[in-house]
């Protein structure tokens, strides 16, 4: 078993592992690179940067994206910033401290060597992005500015107004565009990956569906890189984009790639609350707002009720009748506690009947103090576009009254299991960015997703993937007319025919929304054994009613967005059950995963290191109950395993 889950962590001291590993990796000679074909699926920060960096080296890269342009991938929506251990504030930041914060933020459920490497390359990312023309915020002297984020006591987050993700995305895409112009990279737009082709436990290529013509195509390659992001849309309402989906992950899982820690999903504390039953998604308000905003609810229930009925305005509640519950419970970090803690605390206050907004499921994020202290101009410079966005969505003016926020599904720390080289348990299949599991443990810190995506894509995969290819330069590109390809292709065709033959009249969204509610209630901020156990049969029942009642008008040979939704929903059913299975298995509370059975007397999460200090990697079995669990024990040699305290 140990052999199957070999993380291949290099020997040596923590700070020398990556350097010595790079030295040990093989290379492909420049003349041979153009004969090596690489597929990259997904064009977010991880995918675009990986494809560009591999293209620069001279490999033949085929990139697949679902949108009409690579630039639209969901990394674009990241607002707040990107972390790096530059120590530009002279506040005692270092590679070690970024490593420490990330491990601690992840509640000791991530791999030491991977996280240390992430912190090591973080500075190079900033250097490269500045060179690519990212207009990061600067101070009056012209030097780069930083702000603080949750879970850290230093200021290390680089930002470009509230559009950091978009600016980094433009930079990564510009590098990609440069390679397209050179002819090393080809981008295939409006294509969805439908299956992974595997032969003798080696990835050989992918099957795609053209979302305009419906054509099912095969693409062979020497290696396949999955950069398809996370699976947060299982929960229907989330901060993810509408087209973000977990389908490629499911296909790879079914073909033998292990799925690690699927139950670790992050619920972001600062989102615009749910307001109506037709709502299609939830909008994030950047975590950076917690730098200057104070979170509170009224102390008295009658005030909360009056606020819900709009009988009083928030500003009418006097200071001493407000409960700044994060500052009260966590004086050291205050409003900047990590996301999981802030989310649970908001839920706890609302459960106690102190929530505001018409639904009672919201808390205040108040800027009046910051505006009084720093002036409106300063706050406007920092968060102007976020205030505008909030006003457009809610119709309320955040300059006058506090914002209302509530946690929402946001990010998935779980993903395909990868070794130190970012290779999955299928040879030649790599997973990068949110699609893998490796760096964030049980909870991701703010501004670390952009860092990880670009670290994997620009600075890690471009070393480890050639290392894999080094002894395969004599291999021709797999033959697309081989049996494995034809079989996979016809399976995909059958699947689409099966979906198109559903004769009901109920829209796919109806079932997806129901699945989301189930998952939010039982596998959301708080989970219990009882709740989780009853969820799987409910998901099964929902899936049955989907197959009996759903319908897709039109045909599959043209744009058919209902068909696309149905394909994703089929895979969400599988993912939902996997999330529940993993959440049920992990009988401890750690990071984002909070089991009601495992808490301290004060109600804080209680980890069980004795039994659960490992990665839970699930191997697919066609008999659902028989998915095989593999454990990768996590060893902490460079950091004392302590209780995660933010008090």
């Amino acid at each position: 078993m140990a052999d199957i889950l070999n993380a291949k962590i290099p020997e040596g001291t923590l700070d020398s592992k990556w350097t010595s590993h790079k030295e040990s990796l093989g290379c492909v000679s420049p003349g041979n690179r153009e004969k090596m074909h690489i597929i990259v699926v997904g064009t977010g920060l991880a995918g675009a940067s990986a494809a560009a960096a591999l293209g620069e080296q001279g490999y033949r890269v085929n990139v697949f994206c679902m949108g009409d342009s690579p630039r639209r991938a969901h990394s674009v929506s990241a607002q707040g910033g990107i972390n790096a251990a530059k120590n530009y504030r002279n506040d005692n930041d270092s590679v070690y401290r970024l490593f420490l914060d990330t491990i601690k933020g992840g509640d000791f459920r991530s791999r030491e060597a991977n996280v240390y490497r992430l912190a090591q390359v973080s500075n190079q990312i900033i250097d490269h992005c500045v060179a690519l023309g990212v207009p990061f915020a600067r101070d009056y002297g012209g030097y780069l500015d930083n702000r603080s984020f949750g879970g850290s006591l230093v200021s290390r987050t680089f930002y470009a107004r509230g559009q950091t993700g978009q600016q980094l995305m433009l930079a990564a895409c510009s590098a990609l565009n440069r390679q397209m112009a050179k002819g090393t990279v080809t981008v295939h737009c409006r294509q969805q990956m439908m299956d992974l082709v595997v032969e003798k436990r080696r990835a050989k290529g992918i099957i795609t569906r053209d979302m305009v013509s419906g054509k099912i195509d095969v693409f062979p390659a020497h290696a396949v890189v999955l950069a398809t992001g996370g699976y947060g849309n299982v929960y229907f309402l989330s901060t993810n984009a509408m087209n973000s989906n977990g389908s490629a992950l499911v296909q790879c899982w079914k073909k033998g790639a292990f799925f690690a820690n699927p139950g670790f999903v992050q619920i972001h504390p600062t989102c615009i609350p749910v307001h109506g039953e037709h709502q299609s998604k939830l909008t994030l308000m950047s975590e950076s707002l917690r730098n200057d905003g104070r979170i509170w609810v009224p102390q008295k229930r009658e005030d909360a009720l009056a606020l819900r009925e709009k009988k009083i305005r928030p500003s009418e509640i006097p200071e001493h009748e407000r409960d700044y519950y994060l500052e009260r419970r966590y004086p050291a970090y205050g409003n900047l506690v990590p996301r999981d803690i802030a989310s649970r605390a908001a839920r706890e206050r609302c459960e106690a009947g102190l929530g505001v907004s018409k639904t009672g499921w919201a808390v205040f994020l108040d800027f009046s103090f910051a505006i009084a202290r720093q002036g409106k101009k300063v706050i406007e410079d920092k968060y102007g576009n976020l205030f505008q966005m909030y006003e457009k969505i809610t119709g309320e003016n955040p300059w006058k009254e506090p914002m209302q926020i509530y946690p929402a599904m946001h990010y998935t720390m779980g993903g395909l299991w990868v070794d130190y080289n970012l290779m999955t348990t299928i040879d030649g299949l790599f997973a990068i960015g949110e699609a893998n599991f490796s760096d964030h443990g049980a909870n991701r810190l703010g501004a670390s997703a952009l860092m990880q995506g670009l670290a994997d894509g620009f600075f890690i995969l471009p070393y480890t993937l050639p290392g894999f290819l080094a002894d395969k330069t004599g291999e021709p590109c797999p033959d697309p007319s081989a049996d494995a390809f034809l079989r996979a292709r016809s399976e995909v065709c059958r699947r689409i025919e099966r979906l198109m033959s559903m004769k009901g009249r109920i829209p796919v969204d109806h079932f997806h929304r129901k699945l989301g509610v189930l998952m939010w209630n039982h596998a959301g901020i708080v989970r219990s054994a009882e709740g989780l156990k009853e969820t799987i049969p409910q998901i099964d029942a929902l899936e049955t009613s989907f197959r009996q009642g759903a319908g897709i008008p039109g045909n599959s040979f043209t744009v058919n967005q209902e068909l696309e939704k149905a394909i994703h929903l089929e895979d969400y059913f599988i993912l939902a059950k996997l999330i529940v299975t993993d959440a049920l298995y992990r009988e401890e509370s750690c990071g984002s995963h909070f089991r009601t059975e495992s808490k301290t007397e004060e109600g804080e999460a209680l980890r069980d290191d004795k039994h659960f200090q490992h990665v839970a990697a699930w191997q697919y079995n066609s008999q659902e109950k028989d998915h095989l669990l593999h454990k990768e024990q996590l060893v902490f040699e460079n950091i004392p395993v302590t209780e995660r305290k933010y008090k």
């Binding site: 960096a53 620069e56 949108g67 009409d68 342009s69 690579p70 630039r71 639209r72 969901h74 674009v76 929506s77 530059k86 500075n123 250097d127 490269h128 992005c129 500045v130 060179a131 690519l132 023309g133 207009p135 915020a137 600067r138 012209g142 030097y143 780069l144 470009a160 559009q163 978009q166 895409c173 510009s174 565009n177 440069r178 981008v187 305009v212 984009a241 509408m242 109506g276 037709h278 299609s280 998604k281 909008t283 505008q388 966005m389 457009k392 809610t394 119709g395 620009f458 471009p462 009249r505 109920i506 829209p507 969204d509 319908g551 008008p553 039109g554 043209t558 744009v559 967005q561 209902e562």
Partner: protein
């Protein structure tokens, strides 16, 4: 709320299109425009009618995927937002709303309200980048850049590539789109070495792809969801003229 929708239907790029009329009821004020279309589509599924195809993704105004011509204006009646940020409270109850795709020679209709905007990426491939290989960059603070310059670059770089500027231009010109990229990069010292080549190559590619010429009307600035101004077109023109010398 209740609305009458006149929506453009077109089966494919070479098929003739037409307006189809729908009535929709029980829409709440806090429903977004795209959520209203979701509701319409779900109603169509219940009747076994093919749904209205439209592009959308992030639904928070940053990916640039959505773009509908609503009552004759790209992204609808409000300023400084994308279609997905438009809410039904903006329309009078009972009103008739006309919904069309972007109409421009360089953006062929794929289906219904969905158009092919790949031409924009082709312009970027002509030079909308800084030629630096991964791993070769100097330390990020080696070169201080004044706050004003960076903010100006950021203003231009806010472009989300939605194509509203092209859709609204009577000439179908992509001038604001090209200018925003040229401007964002050439303001920064890192983008200077290629500034000349970039401006020329991108304009040439734009012309070659069937976009029209700029005649300084300024409707692009009016309709840009990210409030990018024609001042950047002036900068592009200057870069371009310097190159010609």
């Amino acid at each position: 709320m209740h609305f009458v929708l006149k929506i453009w239907r077109q089966a494919g790029p070479r098929t003739k299109g037409y307006f189809q009329r729908f009535e929709i009821n029980d829409i709440t004020e806090d429903t977004s425009f795209l959520e209203m279309l979701d509701i319409l589509n779900n109603n169509l599924v219940k009747q076994g009618i093919e749904t209205v195809a439209f592009d959308h993704d992030c639904r928070e105004g940053i990916c640039g995927a959505c773009g509908l011509f609503i009552n004759g204006r790209p992204h609808g009646p409000d300023e400084g937002i994308t279609t997905c940020q438009l809410y039904m409270r903006r329309f009078p109850d009972g009103s008739e709303i006309t919904v069309e795709p972007w109409r421009s020679k360089a953006f062929p209709v794929i289906r219904d309200l969905m158009v092919d905007r790949r031409a924009l990426d082709k312009i970027l491939q002509a030079g909308g980048f800084i030629s630096v290989n991964t791993g070769t960059a100097p330390e990020a603070n080696t070169l201080p850049i004044s706050m004003e310059k960076v903010q100006e670059s950021m203003d231009a770089s806010a472009c989300i590539g939605c194509g509203a500027c092209v859709a609204t231009c009577k000439n179908g010109s992509a001038m604001l789109f090209v200018a925003s990229r040229v401007s964002a990069l050439s303001i920064l010292p890192q983008g200077k070495p290629e500034a000349c080549r970039r401006a020329r190559a991108m304009v040439a590619r734009m012309d070659g792809l069937g976009f029209g010429s700029c005649t300084n009307i300024g409707s692009c600035q009016m309709e840009c969801p990210k409030n990018i101004t024609v001042a950047h077109i002036a900068r592009l023109n200057r870069e371009f003229l310097y190159c010609k010398r």
